[in-house]
Every structure is written in C-alpha cells, then in structure tokens.
C-alpha cells in the first residue's frame, strides 16, 4: 500500500527543467575566464605579430607593383594570400598554422581543469543538465576564437586602408565572412578534440600533449603521410594512367586530414582567381575553359568547395559528439 502511495507521489512531481540557459551561465563564465587568462594574451600576441608581419610585407610587395595593381582582381584579399619579403609565408598560412593551436589552448583543460581544481563535483551537483556544461564550454571556446579572428580581420582592414588605400569590396567582404565561418569550424574541430582529451585524460599535461601531437604530425608530416598512403593504395608504375590514378588518390586521401582540407578550402575561398582553383586540382581545365572565367564569384567558389566544407563540418560534429558522449559517460568517482 505504501509503495503505491510512494509511486503516485513521485509520478506527480512535474519534470523539472533546468533553469533557462544553464549553459549560458557556464559559457559566460568560461568566456570571462578565457579573456582574462594569460594564454589568451599570449595567443593574441602571437597572432597579432604574425598578422602584422605578414600583412606589412604583403602590402609592401603589392605597393611595389605600383600602378600595376589596377589589373589585380580582389586586391584586398591579396593581403591575406600574398607572401612577400622578408616574411616567408602569407597571412593565410599563419592563420592555418595557428588555428589548431587556438582550439587546443581553449579546450585542453576544459574538463581536466575542473577536475584538478576540485570544482567538478560542485558544478555537477547544481541543477543543470550535464550536457549544458560541455556545451557551454564549447560555445565559449568558439566565441573567444571568433572574437580573435574578427579582430584579426579588422586589423588587416586597417592596415590595408592605411598602407594601400584599398577598401574591401562587398564581394571580398562576403568571401571573408565565409572564410571566417570556415575557419571557426576548423578551430571547432581542434577545440572538440582537445575537449575530448580533457575528458579522457586524468591530467591536464596529458590532455594538451595528445592534440598538440596530432597537430604537429598532421602539419609537419601530413604531406608525407598522404603521399605514402596514396602510394600504397595506387602504386606509381610510371605509366600515364598509373600516375593519374595516383594523383587522384592523393586528392582523396588528403580529404581525410582536416589540415589539408582547411588549407585547400581557405585558399579557394580567398582567391577568386581561377588559376588558383586550377592549381588546387579541384576542377579540370576543361570544366573552366568553356566559360573562360578568370575571376570566380563566391557562389562559383562555394559550388566547387562544398564537399570540403561539408566534410570539415562533419569532422567537427563527430569530434564534438565524441567529447559530449565521453563527458556524459564520465563517472564521478569518490
């Protein structure tokens, strides 16, 4: 009899919702933490120096061309893509190189830090769903990275106007906007990877080493690994057909690495010149020749690029899902 009463009593309790936007409280706290942290200052400094150096060199190089610049399409975007003495690489290269580091730095201690500070049991005993914790942290990391990237673009615009007197055209602005979103998705991949490691690793030192290791391997040895893998799948026998098969295998395999996906995508997004597109190997001469296009519209670039964007988005989503599931299953132990 008492059992029945107990059952009814607990059935009657309305399902309790988490306070509206528990994840927002988590995210707001995390953003404030990140913005005040030493690592934010350091990363902002590194990114700022890389940007300043690359863009000053590029704008100097473009200015030396003098009046010839009139013939150049999308001059403003050249600030991102041109490498000129004495800086060996373009801004685009630096952003691609540093983006994983941003994701890793804002994610590697998101859960292991709570553990080592002893705040996790307290946090999890508050009336919010567990997924709001991980979601809030992920959103906060992305928000801070977005702030950094937007200020980078504004910084470049300032230099462009000041040094070259060029103002970005609406077409260039929309390309930059898409590139920003693409870059944020890419950083999101590394952020999710670092978050996953911070759930699984018991110490922050471990959770930073794993994603940094993956980043280094993919960045430094990525090209080598891709050609090695392609060589195994389609061995080069010297024949023309064999060579073509090898090249297409290299292309397919390279889509498995987020690093090469991003490099390819960001180049195509910021280079409306069709020759770049040809060099990327995404389209053949025949496909382009018919229209004799030299400058592509954003829609045309996106039409070529959508598989890469979709793959990268899928990689980021899968990585976040893994981090999410592992956090939900992570048991608090006495």
């Amino acid at each position: 009899m008492t059992d029945t009463i107990d059952d009814i009593a607990s059935e009657d309790v309305p399902a309790v919702e988490s306070p509206p936007g528990g994840w927002r409280a988590v995210a707001a706290k995390e953003v404030a933490d990140h913005l005040l942290s030493g690592r934010f200052v350091v990363l902002m400094g590194v990114l700022g120096i890389a940007t300043a150096a690359a863009v000053f060199a590029a704008s100097g190089g473009l200015r030396d061309l003098g009046t010839d610049t009139e013939g150049i399409t999308a001059l403003f975007l050249k600030l991102f893509t041109v490498a000129a003495d004495p800086v060996p690489q373009s801004l685009l290269f630096f952003v691609g190189f540093l983006a994983p580091l941003l994701g890793i730095m804002f994610g590697f201690d998101s859960v292991s830090g709570e553990r080592s500070q002893g705040t996790l049991p307290r946090l999890l005993s508050q009336p919010i769903h567990r997924d709001e914790v991980i979601l809030g942290k992920f959103v906060a990391g992305l928000a801070v990275v977005t702030i950094m990237l937007i200020s980078l673009v504004l910084f470049v615009s300032g230099i462009g106007i000041f040094r070259l007197g060029v103002v970005p055209s609406p077409g260039e602005i929309s390309r930059l906007a898409v590139w920003l979103v693409f870059t944020i998705i890419y950083v999101g991949f590394w952020l999710a990877l670092a978050t996953l490691c911070s759930v699984l690793a018991k110490r922050a030192a471990t959770s930073v080493m794993i994603p940094v290791g993956i980043w280094l391997v993919l960045t430094v040895f990525g090209g080598f690994l891709i050609s090695a893998a392609a060589g195994i799948i389609s061995p080069r026998d010297g024949s023309e057909a064999g060579e073509a098969a090898y090249v297409s295998t290299v292309q397919s395999v390279s889509q498995l690495s987020p690093v090469t996906l991003y490099d390819l995508g960001s180049n195509v997004l910021l280079e409306p010149d069709s020759r770049v597109l040809l060099a990327s190997g995404l389209v053949s001469v025949e496909q382009l020749d018919r229209a004799l296009i030299t400058e592509l519209s954003l829609t045309q670039s996106l039409a070529v690029l959508w598989p890469q964007i979709a793959i990268l988005l899928a990689m980021t989503s899968v990585m976040f899902a893994l981090a999410y599931v592992s956090f939900m299953r992570d048991e608090v132990r006495a």
């Binding site: 107990d6 009593a9 607990s10 309790v13 399902a15 309790v16 919702e17 988490s18 306070p19 509206p20 528990g22 409280a25 988590v26 707001a28 706290k29 933490d33 005040l36 942290s37 500070q117 002893g118 705040t119 049991p121 307290r122 946090l123 999890l124 005993s125 508050q126 009336p127 919010i128 769903h129 048991e331 608090v332 132990r333 006495a334």
Partner: protein, 314 residues
C-alpha cells in the same frame, strides 16, 4: 517526522568490490545525521548516489520523495552539497564563485543573499580576494556558503571540518546545528573525525567497508554493553607482581591481564562497581596512578572498527 532521505539495500559495486553494501538509511526531516566512518568506507560514494551523480548498482533511494535517478535536477535544486576537498575557480573571487552557483541555480536577485552567507561563514572580509589565495579552511567555509546559496532543504556535507582550525570547527558545528534547529534543514554529515562531529548529530551511523555496523543516537550507542561487565585499565605504582596480586584480591575483579605498559593491568569488573573497586584497592595499600575505562563506549567502538580498517588497508 517525515522521512527526507531513505535508501533501501543500496549497493554500489566497482569491479567485484562492494563499496557500499546493502545500505539502509532513514533520515528524518530536520535531523542532523552523522555518517561516520574511516576514509574509504564508502561515505562519498553513498553521497554521490544520493545526488544522482553515481548510478547505484542495486537498491532504491529517495531524497525529498524523489528518485535521484529519475529526477536528478529537482534533487540537485533542493540539496546543497559540500564535497570533500571542495575546490573553487582560483582566478575568481569568493563572491564571484558564489554568484556563478547562484546563476546555475537560476536565481535572479542573489547579491543580498550572498552577502549574508559570506557574513555567516565569516568570509565577508575576504569575499573579494581570489579564491586561489584562500586557505583550505577558508575554502571549506566558502563551500558551506556555496551549498547554502540555493536555500536548500537538505544539506549534505562531506568532511566539513577536516581542514578547519579547532576554533573554526566549533563555529562550523554550531552553524550546522543552527541551520537544522532554526531553518529546519536536514543535514547529512559524513566525517571520519567522529569525536568532533558526534556532538552535533541527533543520530549517527557507523559506516565501515560499505556497511553500517551500528546506528542510533550517540547516547544509545554508548550504552552498548552485552555482558553487564566493563573493562578497566589500572596503572599501579610499585612492584608489578604485588600490584597484580593486590588487584586480584579485590572481590569485584575478574580476569586480570597485563595492559599496554608495564605496571598496568586490564581487569573486568561488574558494571557500576568501579568506585568501590578503586576504594578497596587504595585501602589495600595499592599505589593507584591511573584508572581508564576500556569498555564498549562509543569511543571504543570507533577505535575498534577504525583500527581494524586501517590494518585492512595497510
């Protein structure tokens, strides 16, 4: 009185080891209940199950009439929890840490509440220092304030006095008592510092290796006495052999055995015959240096179980 926390046959197994073994708890509203046991007894695991943070292997739990497995959010909304070795965000101040908790609880107007809680735990002065600069004791006091931010009906405190200085312990225990008596908060207090906390507990359960070995009011437990006889240790000066003979000659004494140090003897007496025994010893000319009861009072229960436990873990 209505039941606030109830568990039946609650069991948690890690591997093939029962950390909590068929635990039955029944804690009434407004009661201060002490879960006392050595480290590793399963106290924290029990608490985590009550909060729905750890899935029980078997058994049922009810907190405020709710099942923490089915309704964890409502349980967490109404239960304040001070974890063992509580931690705070080091870069945020004590006050900011409490604000964050208030926001997670969906509270709106919390500044006044936080201020009075900081006063209550004696941290008003240090409220705007970074929590990273707090001592362990200060963190523990902030932890109590943190558990109270949501105005809970149940307060679960895991080792609330471990890192606090003796003076602070008294204040903390008084605070716990006040909350229970004046605010009607039900308190579950887990600790291995039995002597400290037993004074504020209405009831205690002695919890060893996942099992409750004794339960009741501290007063009831102190009366555990099966044979009607008590054990007493006598320290006698002079020649040990004559001391023993002297002791054995007293009529109320049986079973004299050597004690822990030379010249001390453990003897069994009839309950209530301690004073006459000492009187006859003295009148027989024995040099009585010390008398110490060893029988089954609360303290000796603790000692017995805890020493066993330590041997087992060593």
């Amino acid at each position: 009185m209505s039941t606030t926390i109830r568990s039946k046959e609650l069991t948690k197994t890690y591997g093939d080891h029962n950390v909590v073994d068929r635990l039955d708890l029944d804690i009434a509203a407004g009661e201060v209940f002490g879960l006392l046991g050595p480290n590793g007894a399963g106290k924290t695991t029990t608490i985590l199950m009550l909060l729905g943070l750890v899935e029980p292997t078997e058994g049922s739990i009810e907190v405020l009439g709710l099942d923490p497995r089915r309704n964890p959010l409502e349980v967490k909304r109404r239960v304040g929890y001070l974890p063992d070795a509580v931690g705070f965000y080091d870069t945020m101040t004590g006050r900011e840490n409490l604000r964050f908790t208030a926001r997670l609880n969906g509270l709106d107007d919390f500044e006044g509440q936080i201020e009075s809680l900081l006063e209550l735990v004696g941290l008003a002065e240090a409220a705007d220092q970074a929590a990273g600069e707090y001592s362990r004791g200060m963190k523990q006091r902030l932890g109590v304030a943190d558990a109270l931010v949501k105005s809970p009906s149940v307060l679960i405190l895991d080792e609330p006095t471990t890192a606090i200085d003796p003076e602070g312990v008294g204040e903390m225990l008084t605070l716990i008592q006040t909350l229970a008596k004046d605010e009607g908060v039900t308190v579950l207090l887990a600790s291995h510092l039995l002597h400290q906390v037993q004074t504020v507990c209405d009831r205690v359960a002695i919890f060893v290796r996942g099992k409750v070995v004794a339960q009741g009011t501290p007063h009831e437990l102190a009366k555990v006495d099966k044979s009607g006889r008590i054990k007493v240790e006598f320290r006698l000066g002079g020649d040990p052999a004559s001391g023993r003979a002297n002791l054995e000659s007293v009529g109320t004494v049986t079973d004299v055995a050597p004690g822990r140090v030379p010249g001390s003897w453990v003897a069994e007496l009839e309950s209530g015959s301690l004073a006459p025994t000492v009187t006859s010893l003295v009148s027989n000319g024995a040099d009585v240096i010390g008398v110490h009861r060893l029988d089954e009072d609360l303290e000796s229960i603790y000692r017995r179980y805890f020493e066993t436990r330590e041997e087992a873990t060593a």
